[in-house]
Amino acid sequence: MWLSLAFALFVAPMQAQEEERPYFDQREQALLRLLTKLPQTPPPSPSNRFADDPRAARFGQILFFDPGLSPSGTVSCATCHDPEKGWSDGRPTSLGVSLGRRNAPTLLGAAEQRWFFWDGRADSLWSQALGPVENPVEMAGSRTDMVRYVAETPDLRKAYEELFGAMPEGLDDRKRFPDGARPRPPAPTGMFHDVSDLSMPTEGLPAYKAWASMSAEDQEAINQAFAYCGKAIAAFERKLVIQPAPFDRFAASVLTPGAEGADKDAISIAAQRGLELFMGKASCHNCHFTPLMSDREFHNVGHEVGVDEDFDHGRPDGIQKLRLDPFNGMGPYSDAPDLETNVKLRYLFYDSHTYGAYKTPTLRNLGRTAPYMHDGRFDTIEEVVFFYQQLPGQPPIGHREETLTRPRMTLQERKDLAAFLRTLDSPPLPEELRRAPD
């Protein structure tokens, strides 16, 4: 009798739990292969010949953590990409010198991305790094001030010149290199303009006039030095490689049982059921595939906007800005401006389907990078999952991605899916990458 009781209490429940473990069929295994095997070295960056230079990475790391790059001396790259907050900032939208309108994405795995910013207005990590310097709500600085700051800070100047050669001469001449001088950003025109561009002609006028007063040679010297600084920051950011997460150890147990690190218990049974939903009924994998858990492209998921909010066109503005950006891969500061290298720019398509579309974010380290969506409207993973189940309202512009189909999920299934998404958190990077170098 005691034996029967022990069986009923301990052995039978364990067997039941074993039975609940989902089985991943051939199709699911093929999908799993797309999601795992994280690259531990970033892809080549032909437009940045310093991308894998350790000296550039060290210089870039100094710049990344230095608030001196902003004229206020208060905002660094790490302000919005805080290593202790999953290389994001934990805010719905970022706070630089003032409040921005988009959420700061994590930098973990950023080098794996194809496009940068939520609207993809940069095509390389180094050109992305230049954007916040002159953004009026982020650092609110200028390329001229940034280059002068590097030139006037002995350690920075030394590191710069060891890598890139002499800094521009005469930077202390304020008539020749006026404070705050920066060119007017090339603004998209026509009906697809970004509302934020409307204020630029008047808001930034003194800075644009100051830039226009400089000689073409001096403008070129500043642009080149500015680009070098961006390339150094990118060299550092390429070191922010995503580490394997519990999900990866579980996936290895399904795909290559017995392999080093494979662990079928690395994630809970609930999370395993969530993974099955991710690749099945919920169809998350349609956009969130690749080991980055992102297709690295753009989709309109159909967020409504409130009556007081601006329209944000997303990708179409990004495409226009990218094409006009002198720091793009085919521009004069690229180390590989040829057509053959710049395939993604060459065949880029300005498509009406992308109105209201934003880049598919990585799901890696999701648990550490709340809040979510391009405007940080959801505080929890559960809210995001519920949104995709309900798909409320209509997008203010464009049309919602047709592949989104309101999966009918029970509360338990939504919890399972959220449990799976939390298994994508990987261990933090080494401490020496999470601060300015000594």
Partner: protein
């Protein structure tokens, strides 16, 4: 009378259009089948990366056998998603390399249809090549 004249003009105009632009032959290829039979000869494609890669850039060559391909138009869509590619492919021709479509990117997994308008010396064809991208 003017109505009769308009109708007659319309009939004549339609006839002229047919002479200028005859109806295309519509062909639906076999799923994942890289070749179709034309009225005369065959048309087949070959990807620069086999099988077609998911979410990566690739090129595709079109080869006509038993006929001469003299013009080509190309597009690709995901009918279930009601959208096409994220790229605008470029069609090139050279005597030594033949017909190529460059800059294709099937950026999502699932069922795609490559739509080809092909003009050969014998006729004009609208061909759909269904292809499946990614795991089935």
């Amino acid at each position: 009378m003017p109505r009769f004249l308009s109708c007659a003009a319309l009939v004549l105009a339609c006839g002229a259009c047919q002479l200028i632009a005859p109806e295309p032959v519509i062909i639906r290829g076999a799923p994942d089948g890289p070749a179709v039979t034309l009225t005369q000869g065959t048309l087949r494609y070959q990807s620069s990366v086999e099988p077609f890669p998911l979410n990566e850039y690739c090129s595709i060559q079109f080869v006509a056998e038993g006929t001469e391909l003299i013009a080509l138009e190309f597009d690709a869509d995901m009918p279930a998603h009601k959208h096409g590619m994220i790229t605008k492919p470029e069609i090139t021709w050279s005597e030594d390399k033949g017909w190529w479509v460059h800059g294709m990117n099937f950026h999502m997994p699932g069922a795609w249809v490559m739509s080809v308008n092909a003009q050969t010396t014998e006729g004009w064809y609208q061909i759909d090549f269904p292809v499946h991208i990614g795991p089935r």
